[in-house]
């Protein structure tokens, strides 16, 4: 490998080192920064699309009665909202951040497998075009929830389910390739001197996330393939009438699904672990324990899946095992939260937008963790399961968790990506509007859930009306605010103060040693890490 680079250095001196011109730059690019940028824009587009669907849901739930959409379409909206947000918005955003930042953080010239990188990105627009197109097909799109339990998603599914299955396969292939790329990059391309325990936490959490992805995406592929067989080839994996078992579907799905939720949060843990020290001007507290806590969470994520299935009738011993294992997750997660709080303690803090999003991340994610702990108590879960309490829980870990983590990362690294500072006032406005809107949208969901409102219903009794209206108003506010983010990013790209190589005085890491914006090629000569 190094021989090739040397030759290039001597003979190919006059080669152009900038990007190609025109559209083909983006189609054919193997540059990690270009691909990272495309991932991030794609993810934002999906975030707006999935968000629009959320607006439809909240508009229908604004008042009791059916006003705007019929139940059939409502179910398609909840399903597509979930699928798009999970597979289209959150996961690609983190892959985008990984593409941009991992090579810069470990002092590598690019990702280890650049052509595969290009392919794994371009699979996504194909997959999502196909999936979204099902909404316009006869019989409508997927209407069986993002968890697509059989037999609702097999025998009773609309015909477009086959397209859905194929789209999930494409997303899975894309994720697996992306994850292999991350692992290969981190394990092979670190700058000399950067031992594993010197890696930034974002790199660590992504390494662990990548292993999770490689482990569980094939399980999801197996799951949808079994569905395909049941639908078209006469098998009965999930049909009791043919000797199968609908509960098998749930076991397989959640064996994928539980690690999946950590896939959506671990990289955010990593990003926040870089941002809080930068703005507290104090090193991260307990680096080593952070690494071990992340690894423990990843391990535990494989042995807790049936806590999503406490009501399917698993035997008492199984129920107890999954309850205890789930409660255990609170321990390493607690360690992380305590470490972040200790990092802030006796720091010299300032609250620029990335810090605001990160602090909100810690507090609100912890609230999501608390409701998670409550849900772990199996007998209490019988009351919470499939109510709005669960909806509140996972939105608290995903919105101020994953999505605030992504926003924090975006603001933190925007100067590096664009070479300009974003507008701090607007950034803070974006934060506060998001913060208020999001809490107003999701906190009342705890209340209606405890009062007895099931999830995934288009209409409800009047006793749930007040808080639903509050939720909807909050959701509209949160939704509208995200257009402000689009404006801030565009403004930052086109104008804005030029950014220094290291615009944050407390920031640490190799990414701040290259100029802003980061040149098209960086670290062609690996830096020395001491």
């Amino acid at each position: 490998m190094s021989a090739v680079i040397d030759t290039h250095g001597h003979a190919g001196h006059d080669h152009h080192h900038g990007p190609a011109k025109g559209l083909m730059r983006w189609v054919l690019t193997t540059n990690h920064k270009d691909i990272g940028t495309m991932y991030l824009w794609f993810s934002f587009a999906m975030f707006l699309l999935g968000g629009t669907m959320a607006m439809v849901i909240r508009a229908e739930l604004f008042q009791p009665g059916l006003q705007i959409v019929q139940p059939e379409f409502f179910n398609q909206m909840t399903t597509m909202h979930g699928l798009i947000m999970v597979f289209g918005a959150v996961m690609p955003a983190f892959v985008g951040l990984a593409n941009w930042m991992i090579p810069l953080m470990i002092g590598a010239p690019d990702m280890a497998l650049p052509r595969m990188n290009n392919f794994s990105f371009w699979l996504l627009p194909a997959a999502f075009s196909m999936m979204v197109s099902t909404l316009f097909m006869e019989g409508g799109g997927p209407n069986f929830g993002w968890t697509f339990y059989a037999p609702l998603s097999t025998t009773y599914a609309p015909e477009s389910v086959t397209f859905f299955i194929f789209a999930v396969h494409l997303m899975g292939i894309s994720s697996i390739m992306g994850a292999i790329n991350v692992v290969a990059t981190i394990l092979n391309l670190r700058a000399p001197g950067m031992t594993l325990m010197k890696m930034p936490l974002f790199v660590w959490t992504w390494l662990i996330t990548a292993f999770l992805l490689i482990a569980v995406m094939p399980v999801l592929a197996g799951c949808v393939t079994m569905m395909l067989m049941d639908i078209h080839f006469g098998t009965s994996f999930f049909s009791a009438a043919g000797g199968g078992d609908p509960v098998l579907f749930q076991h397989v799905f959640w064996f994928f699904g539980h690690p999946e939720v950590y896939i959506m949060i671990l990289p955010a843990f990593g990003a926040v672990s870089a941002i809080i020290p930068a703005f507290a001007r104090k090193p991260l507290f307990g680096y080593t324990s952070m690494v071990y806590a992340t690894a423990s969470i990843a391990f535990l994520s494989f042995i807790v899946w049936a806590h999503h299935m406490f009501t399917v009738g698993i035997p008492l011993t199984g129920e107890l095992f999954f309850m205890y294992a789930t409660m255990l997750i609170a321990v390493p997660t607690g360690v992380k939260v305590f470490n972040w709080a200790s990092t802030m303690w006796q720091g010299s803090m300032t609250f620029e937008t990335p810090m605001l999003f990160s602090v909100a991340f810690v507090i609100l994610f912890t609230i999501g963790g608390f409701s998670g702990l409550m849900l772990a108590i199996a007998p209490a879960d019988f009351q919470y399961h499939d109510t709005y309490f669960v909806v509140a829980h996972f939105h608290y870990v995903l919105v101020p968790g994953a999505i605030f983590g992504i926003f924090a990362s975006a603001y933190y690294w925007l100067p590096k990506w664009t070479g300009h500072m974003y507008d701090e006032t607007l950034g803070k406005l974006h934060f506060w509007m998001s913060f208020v809107g999001m809490n107003m949208a999701f906190f009342p969901m705890h209340f209606v859930g405890l009062a007895g409102m099931p999830r995934r219903i288009p209409d409800y009794n009047m006793m749930f009306a007040n808080f639903n209206m509050v939720s909807s108003i909050g959701a509209f506010m949160f939704g509208a605010t995200q257009l402000l983010f689009l404006f801030i990013v565009i403004k930052c790209i086109r104008s804005g103060q030029p950014a220094a190589a290291k615009p944050w005085d407390g920031a640490e890491g190799l990414e701040w040693t290259v100029p802003s914006p980061a040149p098209y090629h960086t670290f062609q000569t690996p830096p020395e890490v001491k």
Partner: protein, 374 residues
Amino acid sequence: MMRHPRVWMSLLLCLAFSSAHASWTVNMAPGATEVSRSVFDLHMTIFWICVVIGVVVFGAMFWSMLVHRRSTGQQPAHFHESTTVEILWTVVPLVILVLMAIPATKTLIEIYDNSESELDIQVTGYQWKWHYKYLGQDVEFFSNLTTPQDQINNLAVKGEHYLLEVDEPLVVPVGTKVRFLITAADVIHSWWVPALAVKKDAIPGFINESWTRIDEPGIYRGQCTELCGKDHGFMPVVVEAKSKVDFATWLAERKQLAATEKELTSKEWTLDELMARGEKAYNTACAACHQPTGEGLPPMFPALKGSAIATGAAAGHIGIVVNGKPGTAMAAFGKQLSEVDLAAIITYERNAWGNKVGDMVTPKDILEFKKAQE
């Protein structure tokens, strides 16, 4: 729209003086059984544990954010690890969790004790209604939503029990251990009554067990809690707990009713009688998918108006209603409905909405069809 101050005013009024039934309930209710109260206690215990941890952690964070900021001239400290505190905040939460696990385990074991029931009821989930069968008592019936479509479509004022009302509630005696055997006929449903703290998935092909012992007579309402298709939000669970004496009277009446219903099978029916009964039965059993107008919701739920089956030979029509159509949402109604209702529905479908076959399918025809199949 939002520019009109009146809209905002009405919105605020809505929030402040919302209708009599609306409420700002923020917590679970303790419920009506011993189990539901233990569950409630667990819920409150773990909630307060979370509150205390939250107050400590968030308190420290907010204190830190107020005091340890650059604008107050703070110089950053340099400490970044301490094995002692790391061990401490691993072990302390672990101990709290173990303490929490003890009462949770106790309650769970109690909930799983399905033995020694005094009354067994089979609960079957259908798209989109519940079926209750009192095992060994020869009493069974469907429980359908009774909220009128006009209320759902905002054409009429919504009643207090909007979407939580049924034609026939499940009736159980108080102070009796009632065991539920829960299953489903089509997709997965979930049977939930919050006041009883009973939630169990109804899974086609499998039978789940659960039980309750209700203290006080009363009406307890719940809903299906597993997404089961279009009308998932429209299949409530209503349980009526009666005193033991009242329950015995009710059960005797139901047995009598079942016997009378059976006699109807041999009765000589006229077309008008069948049409009248058929319209009613169609609206509870078929209209959710095929619509009251018979136009269906194609392509998932085909139209019956002018359809080849509904206007073709009677045998084909009986066949599809009795046996369903495998691989589609069309269920086999042969075992769900009585011969009288099957005959009435089929007759109705052949002669309503402009379908003019003119013939009549009688309960005897259905019986013969079923016999021929055996």
